[in-house]
Symmetry: C2
Subunit: 416 residues, 2 copies
Amino acid sequence: MTYDLSKSYEMFERAERVIPAGVYGTRSPRFAAFGDFPPFIRSAQGCRITDLDGNEYIDFMCGFGPIVLGYSHPVVQQALVEQEERGNLFSFAADRMLELAETLVARFPFADWAMFGKNGSDVTTLATRMARANTGRMKLLVAAGAYHGFDPWTVPGGFGVPPAHRSELDQFLWNDVTSLHACFDRNKGDIAAVMICPIKHDAMHDIELPSQDFLSAIQKRIADEQALLIIDDIRCGFRLNPMGASHVDFGLTPDLVCFGKAIGNGQPISVLMGREAQRDTAKSTFFTATHFFAGAPMAAALATMAAYDAEGAYEQIQSAGHMLREGMTRAAQRAGVAIRYTGPAAMPNLLFADDPGFQRGRRFSGLAARRGVIFHPCHNWFISSAHTPADIAQAVAVAEECFAIVAKEIASGELP
Amino acid sequence: MTYDLSKSYEMFERAERVIPAGVYGTRSPRFAAFGDFPPFIRSAQGCRITDLDGNEYIDFMCGFGPIVLGYSHPVVQQALVEQEERGNLFSFAADRMLELAETLVARFPFADWAMFGKNGSDVTTLATRMARANTGRMKLLVAAGAYHGFDPWTVPGGFGVPPAHRSELDQFLWNDVTSLHACFDRNKGDIAAVMICPIKHDAMHDIELPSQDFLSAIQKRIADEQALLIIDDIRCGFRLNPMGASHVDFGLTPDLVCFGKAIGNGQPISVLMGREAQRDTAKSTFFTATHFFAGAPMAAALATMAAYDAEGAYEQIQSAGHMLREGMTRAAQRAGVAIRYTGPAAMPNLLFADDPGFQRGRRFSGLAARRGVIFHPCHNWFISSAHTPADIAQAVAVAEECFAIVAKEIASGELP
């Protein structure tokens, strides 16, 4: 018996009348496997989400990253409830802001200060402003295809954005030292900063870890140009390193680091952290918004880090991620389906060989969703500490069944 | 006895070590009355906030707008707790998204669809993208000095923003029909949209309602140019009109309307609403972020609108606002201090005559804060339905005392 999503898609049809495209952006079922993925979620607990038909799924998207301890984690929820009893948003900063900034500065030796936003984009854009103001130079260098948010300067496609608003930006190819040097050379003297994610995790592509040559070249050229290094750790933070900051394992020395997603376990908060050398620039940068100073997401972030440390969440995530990688790789082999399972254990990405249009991926993901497991076909997955060995085993068993169906459909020509 | 803020400012000194400027942006005590305003808030209830020294204040900032029903409103908090028990952020949209979009489209006859962000800036910027994509033209016309958010194209001062990222923008003077026509004339053929707030509510200035001539000229020129009219109702929404959309009272016909602040009574949500004619553009506009699809702020928005209607919040706010206006004006007259008390009853602004540096305003606000009332010296205030006649009377009594001190200090030359 596979899942029935009748009510879910009845609601989606209703949604299409009052919301453009029903659901827009990366959460759209169209970005995943339309008809098979749940368009709306009613509730969640641990590593499981439940849709409007009452179907329960083991979820490997974790809210697209934030849910690092599992949904409705008791320690985080308790902190949230306590703060909400005092209040969330006030006319001045919640006192939690001080507590959180002190905790973060103590946790991350590279940083001397913290500033808080809501969206990841709030702090990636803030970092670009600080780098430009601090250096007096304009050019920002990024890896081609990297996602740094939805703000006009970086939103994929740039639909509706004046071309001029996307200027002062240049790109190099990930892990391509020649391309990197060429990019530095052609912008020499005008480079404010390089912004990179710790790993290449572009949607619809294999994940690629950085080569040591590539990272060394970045650090060397940045030092020569006296430009700043900005790490966008929004997607990787708290999954690649036991303290949370991914750059540490890659031997990088950033000037500014952006966090978001996992730091609040589902509550909206993003963070920019920086060094003493940028403090005066930070003081001069007008950065404000209604909800930046709210206490509940800050209380959630404090509780998330405390529980993450106390429960050994990092180790659990690695262990679950390794088990999933082994299980998925073996299951695909058994079915005789060629896949590429890339990325760190905590943030894997599964793509099918010879699948440029993602038909195989979408079919596999759709089959798995109908059997109670959310494997996204074209975006990296996220593991949480709530994924138990039993959950992983159940997910792998479903995957095995679905790989076999895909193998049969490829063999029969039903799938390209 | 006036309030002691020793612990509050001890904490602020600590904050200066780990947060640039201690608190940045509009929530900084430096933007208000440094030394006298509480830098951090511990809790809030109704119309009152409590600082780290335990001082309680009648608060006329309402979180800079969002708190339209009072802090910790039971109906909103109940909805929030119920949604948090189900979960806030999921891997796909919370089902509340459909419920909220349907409620909003039913509530606002001008609109056919809704999209959701966190910050007000998320949706003002989205509106500019849609207008440009929809018209194929680039120029955005705004009123000089108007605040439309902290995104690079509009952030006050533009510190750290490449000048090119602030191009394709032109300005006219508020209520100045000649300036408006000149602005349209010099951008003729390339105008995507005009974005205005329903009233001029720039910080550090008197509030100015729009003249009918000015609004008629905007509508006429927009129609001639086939440009779009974007209303930024983020600050005014749910305070100027009983249904919530301010443009209705000004006879405007907008294409896109931005809401935020009051719609969530303190939970982070912003909304862009638009018409059928922009639906296809909206479908094509990549707009996504981790927290846009979270259920708790949507549940809060639904509860806020329900309670707002059921409790007659609009009428209570008007009544409290009128009482405050009368009381403050009379108190200043009695003390012989010349002030300008401008703006709608629900969003008043108090500035002192002959006070270009805001010294009189800051002194008055500091004195009032030390006596338990938050009157901001250079930003408009906000009234909530939790401000009772007794609260207003108490606040006016404090104001009377403070006006008298200011009058004396002006007379003695202590204050310029």
